[in-house]
Each structure stands twice: as structure tokens, then as C-alpha cells.
């Protein structure tokens, strides 16, 4: 049990500090895109873009909505997503938790923070997938063009009617993934350090 109440080694402590530095500013400057969608059609060779930030959705919204209304898709508007209200705050709180973990220097805070963060990430992914499903399944029955129900790609490439759609995580998500990976990395570093000191102890005995 004392493992959980132990302190971190200096290296691991610094890594947790890094996680705090990445997460803390999100509420104040949510500048990195979380997700990006690019859509090409024969008459849109330059492509239409949707960019999702922690607090907003930007890009060729008017055009995408205008084109989508022909198939009865609900118009996309930032005000529909209550996620934008809590996502930046949540990420900053995770950063705060990491900061406290690093400052107070107790392993249990770090582990708890990482586990809640993991749960939160899983929830956000499923939430995003649900949104995509809803946009492709709640089609207006009065639409001019009736398409079979569809789900836009969560990640990767998909041909949808005359559009080629590519969906990819943005720089913000990649950074979040790196922060998340710090959890397993710290465990690994600790495990390796433990093994080394154990080996040294054994050697010392011989």
C-alpha cells in the first residue's frame, strides 16, 4: 500500500510537470484543433474543411450546412455542442491535478488523475462517435435527396455520395495522446529503475 503514498523520482516528477504544462492553458487559449475533417467533391477540388477545437467548430460551416440540407442533415452549429462548455475546463482541471500531483509529489494523485483522464477520454470518444452517428441518422424526412442512413468516418477516409471525406485527429488531440501516454511511460520508467536497483542490490550481496 505504501507504493501509492510514495513519492515520484525526479525524472517522473518532471514528466508529470510536462503534462500539467500542456493541459493547464487549454481553458485560456484553446488554439489547437482537436479534430479535422476535409471533404472533397468534383466542384470543390480545394476541399471544404471542418475544424473542431476544444470550445468551437470552425471552417466552411455555411457551405457544408448548405450542401447537407439537400440530404436533410441537421445544420451544424457550435451552440449545439454542450461539450464546448466543459471540455476546455475539464482539460485544464486535469492539468491542475497533474500540477498538484507533481508539487505534492504523491503517487496516488498522479495515478488517480491519469485514470480519470483515461475514463474521460473514452467518454469523449464515444460522445464524438455518437454525434457523428446522429448527424447521419436523424435525417429530415422532407429532404430533397434521400440517402441511406450513414455515419461519417470517426477517423480515416470514406466516400460519401459525391464527397470524399477524410477525418483525422488534430494537433491538439495528438498532444493529448502524448500526455496520456506519459502514464504508461512513467510506470515503465519506474519499473525499469526498480529492476536496476534490485539488480544492484543482488550484485552487492554477491
Amino acid at each position: 500500500m505504501h507504493y501509492l503514498f510514495d513519492r515520484f523520482r525526479p525524472t517522473e516528477r518532471k514528466l508529470i510537470g510536462v503534462a500539467a504544462l500542456v493541459l493547464l492553458p487549454v481553458l485560456f487559449i484553446p488554439v489547437l484543433p482537436i479534430w479535422q475533417m476535409k471533404m472533397w467533391a468534383p466542384q470543390y477540388r480545394e476541399g471544404l474543411t471542418l475544424t473542431i477545437y476544444a470550445n468551437d467548430i470552425k471552417g466552411d460551416l455555411q457551405n457544408i450546412n448548405l450542401l447537407n440540407h439537400y440530404v436533410g442533415m441537421k445544420a451544424i452549429a457550435a451552440s449545439d455542442f454542450h461539450e464546448f462548455k466543459y471540455l476546455p475546463l475539464a482539460l485544464t482541471l486535469f492539468g491542475l491535478m497533474a500540477l498538484v500531483g507533481a508539487l505534492v509529489n504523491r503517487r496516488w494523485i498522479g495515478i488517480l488523475g491519469w485514470e480519470v483522464f483515461t475514463g474521460f477520454a473514452i467518454y469523449m470518444f464515444s460522445d464524438y462517435a455518437r454525434w457523428l452517428w446522429e448527424y447521419g441518422h436523424n435525417l429530415d424526412p422532407r429532404a430533397a435527396i434521400r440517402l441511406p442512413l450513414f455515419t461519417p468516418p470517426l477517423i480515416g477516409f470514406k466516400q460519401m455520395a459525391n464527397f470524399k471525406v477524410l477525418s483525422l485527429p488534430g494537433a491538439g488531440s495528438i498532444l493529448l495522446a502524448v500526455v496520456w501516454l506519459l502514464g504508461p511511460v512513467i510506470l515503465f520508467l519506474e519499473w525499469r529503475a526498480d529492476r536496476r536497483s534490485a539488480r544492484t542490490a543482488v550484485k552487492g550481496r554477491v
Partner: protein
């Protein structure tokens, strides 16, 4: 090894970029090597290196061509209504046309900064109605038509902007008694008829207003060019008919050995007006050179001169005597010296006349019927020869010789060199603008198209590259490097401040005040809101239509059946159209500009009830429709 791999990768990347980045490969800007076909070929999807603006002559329009491909890109309506886009149909452009439905557009003049094209505006004259239009090169739309300029009668020497677009000019070609509308017996021509030269101020925003006018004897003022460098501040005008004949000009105006080129000091003229030395005639401040000296001088030129063109350095004024075989080249320095020394050989209508020999620098034997001159970047001039159907290339400076000539087809009027009247011509191309096409194209009967030729002037010899027909009738043209223009393609909706704009479906409505009905409509793919409008017979309906699209190339049209009413509304634009419900019944309207997959469904009805039927003061469109359109715009 690694280093070599990275160098090879970088090289491949550079080649790939060169081949794929748009605008990176522009045709026709390379060397002079290759066949004529290769030099004019612009690959599908790629762009030309130059915009060329050809005046539309008596079609009243401006034609836009891409060079070197010689492709007709668009026609800008200027002095003539154009039903496809509704120019002269919507209330704003109708007011700008001022009741005229015809103009004769002769000379495009690109705005300049420091004597070089700056790509802001294009000015062009309407000769018969003495008007000047300004086209904004942001959206290629006519934004101002100034005139009819008071006292002016046929503005042919027009507009020829000054090096910083301080002024554009206009001068009477057919003198009349002034103010316009005054009566005189024609036999009293010399006594009562007046020539007029006008300086039109251009504001920083491009807005034209009258600066000054100068009254002259009733010569026929013909062409003009602005001085630059040492001749900055002077504007030159040629005239024919210094004989002051009023009939049979063909013979009577060709008798004198000498006509004139006038040098107008526009700074002095403006100052004289500002000092109150002008007399108000026809609502314009008119200066009389007999009482206000120092504003205008005459230089004799042989045989009914036509074009006057100042060379890029501004040192020489080249005047083509169209009934002789020479270009007379005058020296700016000699002119200024003679003026300073007050060395005059006489006066004409109060205007001092300089001596031809005092001011002449050289006579260049170019050939028969010289009309206009343009320049390259290597010190050569190119003069069109109407009678010889040729272009002569000659050296500006000793030995003033003519090293090359090329045939053109047929009877060339103006010519234009790439940026060829600026301080820094690019020296790539000359375009011959021919008056007759005869047998050059597939025959379309007696009304022939006009003809033009693209000529490569990069090498020591001129090379004919391409032959292309144009609609009636380019006179002068100007060519500007494509990268100097940055057109925009969508009017930002948030900057639309038109009083009748409605940007939200919730605001769409039909308002009534007595017999006037204002229909505030929103258009977006693929519907009008409202699409049913109820009025009564005898009502005057103003349709205020806002296109709330913000996408490239998604214009909507609005055409009313059994009428002459149609207009196009560009993305982000608001336009107003007036229509009178003359008969009771039902009149459909529709989107006339193909916009989208359901363009065909973009239609509506005007329900015209018998006269006297009562309507609500405000009628709003169907709530469900409003909600649907509002949903599309929710992201705002």
C-alpha cells in the same frame, strides 16, 4: 550516403512543387525559344500571365482577355445595359447609367502609382456622351460613371490618367457652342464654337469630380497622354482640323501643313481655378488662356496628327502625323526651355505657339499612316501604321532608326504593348488591334468581327504568335501583369451595409405603404424566401434581394416572366429591382443563373389581385420556411 539521399529528395520536392503549385508555372513568361503554338498555350487549369482590357467601342463595354492565350475571359458592362447580370436593370446600376443605353468606349486607362499600373481601377471613356467610368478591379464592376461632363462634346482624348492617378482628362472632339445646348448658326463656327479640355480630379478612393476646364479654338481634340519624369505635370493633346472647318472635314481639315499638340500644365490650371480665375459656364469652372496665361501651349505638328505618346522616361513626346510617313519626336527639355524663354512664334486663340524646329528632337521615318506608339523595356518604340498594315519598331534615341517591321491583318488602329505606356514596360508582347478582319476567320456574313494579333517582342525580331477575333470594337487596350490584380470573389456578408439588405430569413418580409410594395427577400441554395408575394394590380414592387451565400461562384438570378426584368445577385450582395404589377393574374419568377442541384426548383409566384384588393401592411413568409432557412444560417 544520407546526405545524398536528402539532397535527391529535396531536388524531387522542388520539381514536384514547381509542377503542382498553382501559379508557379505561368505560360509565356520564359525566353523567346519555342514555337508560336507553345508560346500561347496555357495548360487546362492554369492561368495567363497578363490581363488585357480591350475597349468595347460602340458596344459600350470592356472585354477582358487573358494573354498570351488570347482567351476571352469576360465582358464588363460599362455604358450599355447587360441583361444577363441585370446591369442597368437593378436600381443602382440603372441610376448610374443615367438614362443612357449606349456609349462608345474608346480608351481604357489603368490607374497608376509612380507611373506604373497599380491594379486598383480601370477608367474608360464614353466618347459621344462625354462620360468617364471607373471600374473597380477588386470585383470588376463599374462603380462610377462621371458625366456627361459640362461643355464637353465627344470626349475622345480621354481618360489617360496621370502618373499617380491625380487626374483623368477629357477633350472635345466635335466642337459645339457652349454651354451644350446653346444655339448658333453653324456658319458662325469660328466665332461661336469652342473646343474644351477638362481635367477631372480623382480622389484617393477613386471618385471623380471636375477640376477645371480650358476653352480653346474649335479644333478637333483627338488623343492624349500624360507626361512623366521630366514631363510630369503636363498633359499632351493632339488635334486635327486646326483649319476650323465645319463641313467636308475629310478635305477641308487636311489642308494645313501643321496642326497642333497642346501641352497643358494641369497643376497651374488647377491653381488658377483655386485662385478664382475661372468663369462658370454650364456649371463648370472654365479658364480662358487669353486671360490666364501659363496653363496651355501649342506645338505645331505636321499633317493631322493622331496619337501622342510619352516615352517611359518622360523625355520624349512622340506624335504620329497620320497623313505623313513620320513620327515627330519632341523633347521635353526643349519644350520647357522654350516656355521658360517665352520663345513663341505666335498665338492661336490666346494660346502661345512654340516653334516646331525649337522643340523637335527627331523625325523617324516609320512608314505610311502612323497612328499610335507604345514602348518596351529595351529602349524601342512600336508604332502602328494604318495604311501599311504594319507595326514599325524603332529606336528611341540615336540613330532613331527602324530595325524591324511586321505585317498585321488588316489596317491597324491602336496597338498595345505589355504595360507599354508606363514608366516600366515589360517588353513581352504587343497586340495589334486591327480595324478590318476581312478573310482572317470563318465567315459570319457581312458583319465581320474585329481582328487582333499577339506579337512576341522579346527577341530582336517581332514574331507573330496568334490571331484572334473580337466583338465590336476594341480601340485602345491595356495589358497588366496578372499578379498585380487581387480580385475578390465573394462580398463579405458582414460588410454588406446596403439599406435594404436582409441577412436573416427571420427578417424577410413584404411591406406595403399605399401603392408601394417593398419585398425584402433572402436567396440561398435553392430557394427564395419568401417565394410567394401577394400584391395588387397597379402596385409598384421593389424587390430587395440579398444573396446570403458566401461561396465562390454561387450567384443567384432573379427573372420575372413577361418582363424585361432580370438580374444576378452575387454572393453577399443586395440588389433592388423595380417592377410594376400592370395586370392582375399570376406571374412566376425564377432563378435565372444556374446555381445548384435544385436550381430548377428555385422559383416563386407573384399573385397580383385585382386593383383595390386589401393586403396586410407587413406579410411574412411561411414560418416553417423561415425556420428552415434560419437553421442553415445558425452557425453565424
Amino acid at each position: 550516403m544520407k546526405r545524398w539521399i536528402s539532397i535527391a529528395a529535396a531536388a524531387i520536392a522542388v520539381v514536384w512543387l514547381g509542377a503542382h503549385v498553382p501559379g508557379c508555372t505561368t505560360a509565356g513568361t520564359g525566353g523567346a525559344a519555342g514555337s508560336a503554338a507553345q508560346k500561347v498555350y496555357v495548360k487546362p487549369g492554369e492561368h495567363d500571365a497578363y490581363y488585357a482590357f480591350l475597349s468595347g467601342g460602340h458596344s459600350g463595354q470592356v472585354f477582358v482577355y487573358g494573354m498570351p492565350s488570347c482567351r476571352h475571359i469576360t465582358t464588363i458592362p460599362v455604358f450599355t445595359p447587360e441583361p444577363a447580370v441585370g446591369y442597368g436593370v437593378d436600381e443602382e446600376s440603372k441610376a448610374m447609367l443615367g438614362g443612357f443605353s449606349w456609349g462608345d468606349a474608346h480608351h481604357p486607362g489603368l490607374s497608376e502609382t509612380d507611373g506604373d499600373y497599380d491594379g486598383r481601377w480601370l477608367f474608360i471613356n464614353d466618347m459621344p456622351n462625354a462620360r468617364i467610368a471607373r471600374i473597380d478591379l477588386g470585383d470588376f464592376k463599374t462603380r462610377q460613371i462621371f458625366g456627361p461632363i459640362p461643355n464637353l462634346s465627344a470626349a475622345h482624348a480621354c481618360p489617360f490618367p496621370t502618373p499617380n492617378t491625380e487626374y483623368v482628362f477629357a477633350a472635345s472632339r466635335f466642337s459645339v457652342p457652349i454651354p451644350v445646348g446653346s444655339y448658333s448658326r453653324i456658319e458662325d463656327y469660328q466665332k461661336n464654337f469652342k473646343g474644351v479640355i477638362a481635367g477631372v480630379k480623382v480622389s484617393k478612393e477613386g471618385v471623380m469630380s471636375l477640376g477645371f476646364e480650358i476653352v480653346t479654338p474649335p479644333f478637333d481634340w483627338d488623343l492624349s497622354d500624360a507626361g512623366k519624369g521630366p514631363s510630369m505635370g503636363w498633359q499632351f493633346f493632339t488635334c486635327y482640323n486646326s483649319e476650323q472647318a465645319y463641313d467636308s472635314l475629310e478635305v477641308k481639315a487636311s489642308q494645313a501643313e501643321m496642326d497642333y499638340v497642346a501641352a497643358v500644365n494641369w497643376q497651374e490650371a488647377q491653381q488658377a481655378v483655386d485662385e478664382g480665375k475661372a468663369k462658370q459656364i454650364g456649371g463648370a469652372p472654365v479658364l480662358d488662356p487669353a486671360t490666364v496665361p501659363g496653363i496651355i501651349y501649342l506645338i505645331p505638328v505636321p499633317k493631322s496628327p493622331h496619337g501622342v505618346d510619352v516615352n517611359p522616361s518622360g523625355e520624349y513626346i512622340c506624335v504620329s502625323g497620320k497623313l505623313q510617313a513620320e513620327v515627330s519626336v519632341f523633347s521635353t527639355k526643349k519644350m520647357l526651355d522654350a516656355i521658360a524663354a517665352k520663345k513663341f512664334e505666335g498665338e492661336k486663340g490666346g494660346i502661345p505657339v512654340l516653334s516646331y524646329q525649337d522643340v523637335l528632337e527627331a523625325k523617324v521615318p516609320v512608314g505610311l499612316g502612323p497612328l499610335h506608339t507604345q514602348f518596351d523595356d529595351k529602349g524601342y518604340a512600336y508604332t502602328s501604321l494604318f495604311l501599311d498594315s504594319q507595326i514599325a519598331k524603332w529606336k528611341v534615341g540615336a540613330p532613331w532608326d527602324v530595325p524591324d517591321k511586321i505585317d498585321v491583318y488588316y489596317s491597324i488602329g491602336h496597338l498595345m504593348a505589355s504595360e507599354g505606356d508606363t514608366r516600366h514596360p515589360t517588353g513581352d508582347y504587343v497586340v495589334a488591334l486591327d480595324k478590318l478582319s476581312k478573310d482572317r476567320y470563318l465567315s459570319v456574313g457581312p458583319t465581320h468581327p474585329e481582328a487582333a494579333q499577339l506579337i512576341d517582342i522579346r527577341g530582336p525580331k517581332m514574331e507573330l504568335l496568334y490571331d484572334f477575333p473580337t466583338y465590336l470594337e476594341p480601340h485602345y487596350a491595356q495589358m497588366i501583369k496578372a499578379e498585380k490584380l487581387k480580385p475578390f470573389t465573394v462580398y463579405p456578408l458582414e460588410k454588406n451595409e446596403k439599406p435594404y439588405a436582409v441577412k436573416k430569413a427571420e427578417d424577410a418580409r413584404v411591406e406595403r405603404k399605399g401603392r408601394r410594395v417593398d419585398a425584402y427577400m433572402v436567396v440561398v441554395r435553392s430557394h427564395f424566401t419568401p417565394d410567394i408575394i401577394r400584391v395588387s394590380q397597379g402596385d409598384t414592387v421593389y424587390f430587395h434581394i440579398t444573396n446570403v451565400e458566401q461561396d465562390d461562384d454561387i450567384a443567384h438570378g432573379f427573372g420575372i416572366l413577361w418582363s424585361s426584368k432580370n438580374m444576378q445577385i452575387e454572393p453577399g450582395e443586395t440588389k433592388t429591382m423595380r417592377w410594376v404589377a400592370e395586370k392582375a393574374g399570376v406571374t412566376p419568377f425564377y432563378c435565372s443563373n444556374f446555381c445548384s442541384a435544385l436550381h430548377q426548383e428555385m422559383q416563386g409566384y407573384l399573385e397580383v389581385a385585382p386593383a383595390g384588393t386589401k393586403h396586410a401592411a407587413v406579410e411574412r413568409p411561411d414560418a416553417r420556411r423561415v425556420a428552415e432557412v434560419a437553421a442553415l444560417m445558425r452557425h453565424q
